[in-house]
């Protein structure tokens, strides 16, 4: 470790006080480091996370599921709790582009990877083609499961841009108690068609 070069003194200190699987994503001297001071005060283990393209520091226990770090620590409440056993998919996020059920994914296991949540899929002004298709097909009812549905669908289209019904069946195992499934299928097809043409839904 002696030959390693640290970008900033804070990074060096953070490492020494026991930062857990630190991933340095932020360039030196950026505003992304204000939380590092907590490390100095608390002498706690921290996890450096790459969430939605931003570096975020979590003081969570390494075994804490990513879901609760997102929701209760980082206030990213778009990702939902539904079952806690990876059965319903309400908590689906992307980890390095793969759909992952964050309720059973320990935060330590994703410290080195790019995490993407519903908050960065698109915005009201610049929706992802799937979000635009979701609006066009009027998919959501109560809406609680829809973040997970959309993240699962986005991961599907990344891998399979023109999915068949059978491929949608296989990929979309998320549960919805309002029964929006038929519109989910339609909206995925709609978004796929739009993305093929290279436009917005």
């Amino acid at each position: 470790m002696g030959d390693r070069t640290w970008h900033t003194p804070l990074q060096a200190i953070a490492h020494r006080v026991g930062t857990y699987r630190v991933k340095f994503l932020a360039p030196p001297n950026t505003k992304l480091w204000p939380l590092t001071s907590r490390i100095l005060i608390n002498h706690q283990n921290t996890v450096q996370l790459n969430i939605n393209g931003q570096s975020r520091t979590s003081t969570a226990d390494p075994s804490m599921p990513l879901l609760w770090v997102l929701r209760d620590e980082l206030q990213l409440t778009g990702t939902k709790f539904g079952c806690g056993i990876a059965a319903c998919g309400a908590c689906t996020v992307h980890v390095d582009g793969q759909p992952v059920r964050s309720c059973v994914t320990s935060v330590s296991s994703v410290a080195q990877q790019a995490i993407k949540t519903i908050e960065s899929l698109g915005t009201a002004e610049k929706p992802h083609p799937l979000q635009a298709a979701w609006i066009a097909e009027q998919v959501p009812q109560c809406g609680y499961c829809q973040s997970g549905m959309l993240m699962a669908a986005a991961a599907l289209l990344d891998k399979t841009p023109q999915p068949s019904d059978a491929e949608i069946d296989a990929a979309m195992t998320n549960l919805c108690r309002c029964g929006t499934y038929q519109r989910v299928r339609k909206a995925i097809h709609r978004a796929a068609a739009v993305m093929k043409k290279g436009g917005a839904a």
């Binding site: 939902k80 539904g82 908050e119 109560c142 499961c145 108690r177």
Partner: protein
């Protein structure tokens, strides 16, 4: 045809209560401007409508959005009458005044036979019953979102409130401009006169304030621009970006998180608990023993810095649980008890016509069948939760609830403060289905908040707690006996069912001050059995109300949900026994019920009833009326490796005047999926008072790949709007069961279906 339905024995007592109350005209729900929140720049014109400085319309919204699209549909009513685009209507949570109470829901709880209670020529006792209960409901002012009643209830009051506001604004412009009001036109919230004068609502609201024009008429239907046209739901954009705030998404400065564990035995409690290990965990700050609030079960809550910490804490508490003193609950034993009750108790007669005993004596053939349905959980995707803060003698709660006033009352009771000291924020509901008509979890949250010295606490349930501590749809058994004459005509139908009554149990825990010393006959036990449209000359329907001790509640479509399975399956049995086509058999019996026959014929036509299907597929049909709407469905079913597969469901609904056809179609699809989950998988087993199901691993729900194509047909109608959120649930199970019979020859008499 002479019918003798149950005349409200309670009516006399209820009537005594309302003597002396003045007649409350329908327009009494306009309300005064003081009822609305005072917000900078907005001026209220009545209890429902405020106008913002920029001319936007603010609507007081008493109903909860739980997926049924009611926030959009109710806003449409107001936008229509005020001539503004839907996007110009903002919602503000309504307060607790009685004008926001749900009158239609309570009136619909009267057990009148639909062939008597609909149409113009209602018998006097029905008119009187509806009038009395309507008055009582207005006085109670119970704000509840349930019973598929939001549009039916607010159809007149909201349009009237908006039309009255519009008239005030136009009159203000007329006075200011010194022109006749009748010469002013309104387009997109802008008033104009031929002289060139023009102003938006915001510019005239100060002048309009305080005026209450009378003799206002709402628009006639040929002038509607919004009502009846599909409108994109206003809540959807926030639901696709993760920005919608559900109960669990409330975040407050300094907020703590609490997890719960109730005694696994329903109605049990903690004899002792060792909290040492839990409190030693990092991030765990407190263990709070929980009382049994609102009919729930006692237990404990652990407070931590996140939900996860709190749940770790729950795992670490060592508890000695204690069984309920009332004895163990077992679904097998309850089932045996219900069967015994069916055979031994006479029950309460909800309906009788003709002389069934005579027809039975004269019968040449009798067809008997026993049907049964299990306990069921609601399983909303968002588990139960409530956020509470108790500070300076005031309580603030944030909760996804169908009953904000009951949540308030529960908070006040637990915190021992006046109701006026409680503020309720209703969030988006991650599903309701009737579960959120109970407020047990609100009591828990306030109890925990009281132990957390001024800090806000979000209390949430795990999926397992949610599954094991629901208010379940009660198990029901029903015995059917049909008598046939020598020509094979059905001369008499006798139905007797048994199971727990829901309303008295709910009243006892939710509104004990209204709960009587004895159980009144409860329509939820008999709906879908006593009110059949079929013209059997003799009929008798009775119900034996039991008290199993299992916490029971309102499950989407309530009694209809199992009773339609019983009755529509048995009708199919009669068709099969008399070698008649199920559609033709029903149509023959619907001669006096043309509205039902029309819906049935429509669905049959659209589904291609009688046309060939691929090998290994069969169709089943069912018809049912609930919440004022008639729904008929045809299901196409096959079997693959012993698994039931439903390919297509055609669904026709007559729900009166439609406000937003888009949400009607959504609700038909939703109901089919919800009902199909229950029909294929749904059951709750209880052994030794412990619910055996715990999570989606052992209580599966329908997935996308198992979902049929649902086609919706809406019957054009000019009737008063009726329910939409529930009426398509009841016919699904019998349609699928009848298709299975057509496919296999084996009659499905129990839920969940099995082959």
């Amino acid at each position: 045809m002479k019918r003798r339905t149950w005349l409200l024995s309670a009516l006399g007592a209820t009537g005594a209560l309302v003597v002396g109350w003045g007649v409350m005209p329908a327009r009494s729900r306009l309300g005064s401007p003081e009822l609305m929140l005072k917000t900078q720049g907005d001026v209220a014109l009545n209890g429902w409508i405020k106008i913002a400085a920029d001319g936007a319309v603010v609507l007081a919204m008493p109903r909860s959005e739980m997926g049924q699209g009611v926030h959009t549909a109710l806003a449409m009513l107001v936008a229509e009458e005020l001539d503004v685009p839907l996007s110009r209507v903002r919602l503000e949570q309504a307060g607790a005044d009685s004008i926001y109470g749900n009158v239609a829901m309570l009136v619909a709880s009267l057990p009148f036979h639909p062939l008597d209670s609909e149409g113009e020529n209602k018998p006097t006792q029905i008119k009187m019953g509806e009038w009395l209960v309507g008055k009582v409901a207005r006085e109670l002012g119970l704000n509840a979102t349930g019973g598929s009643s939001s549009i039916a209830d607010l159809w007149e009051p909201l349009r009237m409130a908006a039309a009255t506001a519009r008239a005030s604004l136009v009159q203000a412009a007329a006075t200011t401009w010194k022109v006749p009001a009748s010469d002013i036109t309104v387009t997109a919230g802008v008033m104009k006169h031929a002289s060139g004068q023009s102003a938006h609502y915001g510019q005239m609201v100060a002048a309009a304030s305080g005026s209450t024009p009378s003799g206002i008429q709402t628009k006639s239907r040929e002038n509607w621009k919004l009502i009846g046209q599909p409108a994109p739901r206003t809540d959807i954009p926030a639901k696709v970006t993760g920005q919608a705030t559900f109960g669990l998404d409330v975040r407050l400065p300094g907020m703590l998180f609490a997890a719960v564990q109730m005694c696994p035995m329903l109605g049990g409690s903690a004899a002792s608990m060792d909290t040492k290990d839990a409190l030693a965990l990092k991030g765990v700050s407190k263990v709070v023993p929980l009382n049994a609030w609102g009919g729930g079960t006692a237990g404990l809550a652990v407070v931590g810095q996140t939900t996860w910490h709190a749940r770790q804490g729950v795992q670490a508490v060592k508890v000695q649980w204690q069984a309920p003193a009332t004895g163990a609950l077992d679904t097998q034993r309850i089932q045996a008890d219900l069967l015994k009750a069916l055979n031994e108790d006479s029950g309460f007669t909800f309906h009788e016509q003709g002389v069934p005993t005579q027809a039975e004596k004269a019968a040449t053939t009798r067809i008997d069948a026993l049907y049964q349905a299990p306990y069921l959980a609601h399983v909303t995707m968002e588990p139960m939760n409530c956020t509470a803060q108790v500070k300076d003698g005031k309580v603030e709660i944030w909760v996804s609830t169908q009953v904000p006033q009951m949540a308030r009352d529960m908070a006040a009771k637990v915190a021992k403060v006046d109701k006026e000291q409680v503020t309720v924020h209703v969030t988006q509901l991650g599903g309701g289905f009737g579960r959120r008509l109970d407020v047990d979890f609100v009591g828990q949250a306030v109890q925990v908040a009281m132990a957390c010295e001024d800090q806000p606490v979000q209390l949430s349930w795990s999926r397992e707690e949610d599954m094991k501590h629901d208010f379940y749809r009660p198990m029901h058994l029903a015995k059917f006996q049909a008598s046939l004459d020598e020509k094979g005509e059905v001369t008499s139908l006798r139905i007797k069912s048994a199971g727990d009554a829901i309303t008295p149990r709910w009243m006892a825990r939710a509104a004990p001050h209204l709960s009587g010393p004895i159980d009144m006959p409860d329509k939820t036990t008999s709906e879908g059995l006593f009110d059949l449209p079929y013209g059997f000359a003799s009929q008798h329907m009775s119900h034996v109300a039991t008290q199993s001790g299992v916490p029971v509640g309102f499950w989407r479509s309530v009694g209809h949900s199992h009773n339609a399975f019983f009755s529509e399956s048995f009708i199919d049995e009669l068709a099969a026994a008399t070698k008649q086509d199920p559609l033709a058999f029903r149509l023959k019996l619907l001669k006096d019920a043309p509205r039902y026959a029309a819906v049935l014929q429509l669905v049959a036509d659209k589904a291609g009833w009688g046309t060939p299907l691929p090998a290994g597929r069969a169709r089943g049909i069912a018809l049912h009326k609930s919440f004022g709407s008639i729904v008929a469905q045809v299901a196409e079913v096959s079997l693959a490796n012993g698994q039931i597969r439903v390919h297509r469901v055609v669904c026709a609904i007559d729900c009166g005047t439609v406000v937003n056809p888009g949400t009607v179609a959504q609700q038909m699809e939703s109901s089919v999926v919800y009902a199909l989950s229950a029909a294929l998988f749904g059951k709750i087993d209880i052994v030794g008072s412990v619910v055996q199901q715990s999570n989606f691993s052992d209580a599966p729900m329908l997935t996308l790949s198992q979902t049929p194509v649902v086609e919706t047909i809406i019957v054009p109608s000019t009737r008063h709007p009726a329910g939409v959120g529930e009426p398509a649930v009841p016919p699904l199970a019998p349609a699928v069961g009848n298709a299975l019979f057509a496919l296999t020859g084996k009659r499905q008499r129990a839920l969940p279906l099995g082959v």
